[in-house]
Symmetry: C2
Subunit: 131 residues, 2 copies
């Protein structure tokens, strides 16, 4: 069962990473995610890493790549659910995650994306989750 | 990385199963999910199985157990993202999923839960996703 599901949540896509990432899986994820951004016209991507107890530079690069690809396709990336130990590792390794915003959990990440999109459009109220 | 993350989405919890389920993992999931229903006062549980290409009676029983436990804790369970091949297998194996409702994807599952809760409360409009 080597596939990372990409879930559509209203205007956004949610990716929950819970298996160990390797080259081929990362490539598949990038392909599927970019395709899905286009087909669903998603405006944002939430990457949940709450199941990850450690990160390394490989994972960091994949997340950075996903963010860069999404941005070109006009979708913002928000990293959610980071565990304290992961935050410590990221700083200690001197990793930077360019173009990636973070939020404590999915709820807050969704709010961040909605607020940010609302601002882009010059609107205060952005629609709910209705499909 | 043997943990299935449980994500809070407004009043609901979202579980995405993407690793092969085994006894210990299923037990951990049941414990964590029931604990999280209580702490977050969740009213519904969405189980996404879009990454699963096959099911067996073991998985069916786990999903049934989760639904039964959630119901006791006053939360409805909706199974989302089932692949066509999985639907075929479920019928061919003669499996029943008592107390489990299904929806095509997370968006529709959320709508189902919101509609169902709105009805319970005698309300038409149920709040959005705001945290």
């Amino acid at each position: 069962m080597e596939r990372i599901p990409i879930l559509k949540l209203s205007d956004f896509l949610l990716v929950t990473i819970q298996v160990d990432m390797h080259d081929r899986l990362a490539l598949t994820l990038q392909e599927e995610l970019t395709a899905k951004i286009v087909t669903t016209k998603a405006r944002g991507v939430l990457i949940d890493i709450s199941a990850m107890e450690m990160v390394d530079s490989f994972i960091g690069r994949i997340i950075g790549n996903i963010a860069a690809m999404s941005r070109i396709l006009d979708a913002e990336t928000v990293l959610v659910g980071m565990q304290p130990s992961v935050a410590i590792t990221i700083v200690e390794l001197g990793m930077t995650l360019p173009g990636v915003r973070t939020a404590l959990n999915v709820d807050k990440g969704l709010k961040l994306l909605r607020d940010s999109l609302g601002k882009d459009r010059g609107e205060d109220a952005y629609g709910g989750l209705e499909a």
